[in-house]
């Protein structure tokens, strides 16, 4: 077989292999990770909120360090009021959609089962100083209540939030709070396992 014939045969084989591969590939369904999908949707909703609140924050003016506490509280209130006004009709689950809530609740439950009893006890203690309250959308986090320390090893497992927002645990609720506005943006009931 001449060199050109050998080259031709090689090309024919390569084309055949490519065609078989393509045929098999078409038959397969693309695998979708439900967690990834849920988190992508969550991130999009978070981004949408942050775009809105940043625009509102610009309109109420920046908060630079000040020696006048009244300026801090007034600016926080202005931002909170602006967000509330702009989110008319906001309801629980707007950010923590059912899909996201399911994934996050499973993730938190699994994480709790991996931790030793002493760690779980400390997490429970962090809640003890916090009076019982039911979070509500677009309401202020009660200013006289402490903010329960967020479990440091759980935090990296949750979808990352931009610096304007933070997660907090209130009883068995997981809430998202706008830090500067001190506003509860969304919450998830039964997100955290009950601790004795």
């Amino acid at each position: 077989m001449s060199l050109s014939e050998r080259r031709g045969a090689g090309i024919r084989w390569a084309v055949a292999v490519l065609l078989v591969g393509l045929t098999l590939g078409c038959g397969k369904e693309e695998r979708v990770d439900p967690t990834e999908t849920a988190f992508a949707e969550f991130t999009k909703r978070i981004d949408d909120f942050v775009t809105l609140r940043n625009r509102l924050a610009d309109s109420v003016g920046p908060l630079d360090p000040t020696g006048t506490p009244a300026e801090i509280t007034a600016r926080s209130a202005r931002l909170a009021n602006a967000i509330i006004a702009a989110r008319t009709g906001a309801k629980p689950g707007d950010i923590f959609t059912t899909e996201v809530a399911t994934v996050i609740a499973t993730l938190i439950k699994e994480e709790y089962t991996r931790r030793p009893p002493k760690v779980i006890e400390t997490r429970g203690d962090a809640q003890e100083e916090l009076p019982d309250f039911v979070p509500r959308i677009d309401t202020l986090y009660p200013t006289t209540y402490p903010l329960a320390t967020f479990p440091a090893t759980l935090l990296p497992m949750l979808p990352r939030l931009p610096e304007q927002l933070e997660y907090r645990i209130v009883g068995r609720y997981l809430i998202i709070r706008d830090v500067e506005a001190n506003l509860i943006i969304d919450f998830m009931p039964n997100a955290v396992p009950g601790v004795e």
Partner: protein, 324 residues
């Protein structure tokens, strides 16, 4: 009675009550040293906070420190303008008037918006670093230790050269108090502290004073009793070298080259713990002999002078960056 006897008696009468409380500064007060006060969990606005604040001001006259660190829970309850006044500006007015700079960390009772309050010097950030003399401080927000903060801490520690590295934050990694240590936080922070040669850590949250035995070469102080108190909530033993849990307290610190002197003081001005932590000699010339500081008698295990920590790698001193 002869006039001389009267004078002697009067002097004795004045000296006795003062000596009974031993209101002395035990720190060496060396020229050029870094001096500061440590206040933890102070923001109640009650008479105990005011009494401790008054005692700190008394000691400031004898030991003129230039700044104070606050270990969180700076304002309990609400954060209204009147709360800033009642729980900070009024009790510490003598110190503020004398130009003492306060450097606060956030506690679980603190609204993170306190970072915008200029006198707390957080510069609008929840965590930051600042330098005083040869001491680099790392102010952490232990309420919300997100991966970004951990990454930042590691970067800043790596860049801190041969300075003393002193992180401070609200939750203790070690304590004998009933609520117990923050083990989760310890699992994240301790390896970083060890890796980068942290020598001393200050924490609050527990309303007592404790000096923890060196853990992996790091000396931990719990000083969260500057207004609130949990009577008896500390136990000497394998973990705790010295403690004070019968009254409120605060600390004074002096860092002179490779020595860190500490003095814990009660609300009544009594010294309840004192001593020195020495770093292993770095590339610097040997220090001149220093006055010996011994353990106080109150609730302290015999050994006071703590073992030296890891030597710090010699490195050029970096300029002091502005707060984040």
């Amino acid at each position: 009675m002869k006039p001389l006897s009267r004078i002697v008696l009067a002097a004795l009468a004045l000296w006795l009550p003062a000596s009974a409380f031993a209101q002395d500064v035990t720190l060496p007060q060396r020229k050029g040293s870094v001096r500061f006060a440590v206040i933890g969990d102070a923001g109640t606005g009650d008479k105990q906070q005011y009494a401790v604040a008054s005692q700190i001001a008394n000691f400031h006259k004898k030991f003129p420190f230039t700044f104070a660190i606050m270990l969180g829970d700076n304002l309990y309850g609400a954060d209204r303008p009147q709360d800033y006044r009642k729980k900070f500006e009024v009790p510490y007015k003598p110190l503020l008037d004398d130009g003492v700079e306060f450097n606060a960390a956030l506690g679980n009772h603190d609204d993170p918006n306190q970072r915008f309050y200029k006198p707390f010097n957080l510069g609008g950030q929840r965590y930051r670093t600042f330098k005083k003399g040869n001491v680099r401080f790392f102010v952490l927000d232990s309420n919300y230790m997100d991966p970004e903060q951990v990454k930042w801490l590691e970067k800043e520690l790596a860049a801190s050269g041969s300075d003393w590295k002193i992180p401070y934050f609200h939750h203790p990694l070690y304590t004998s108090a009933a609520r117990g240590p923050e083990q989760e936080l310890r699992s994240i922070l301790e390896p970083i502290f060890v890796k980068y040669g942290v020598e001393v850590v200050f924490n609050g949250h527990e309303h007592i004073y404790e000096r923890i035995k060196a853990q992996k070469g790091i000396h931990y102080f719990v000083a969260g009793g500057s207004a609130k108190l949990r009577v008896g909530d500390s136990h000497l033993g394998d973990l705790v070298e010295a403690n004070f849990a019968t009254d409120r307290s605060f600390m004074l610190i002096e860092v002179d080259r490779d020595e860190l002197y500490y003095q814990a003081i009660s609300m009544t001005g009594k010294t309840v713990d004192k001593g020195v932590i020495r770093r292993k000699a770095s590339s610097k010339p040997p220090l001149p002999p220093s006055p010996k500081v011994t353990a106080s008698k109150a609730r302290v295990k015999p050994k006071t002078t703590a073992p030296a920590t890891k030597p710090a790698a010699p490195a050029p001193t970096k300029p002091n960056p502005s707060p984040m």
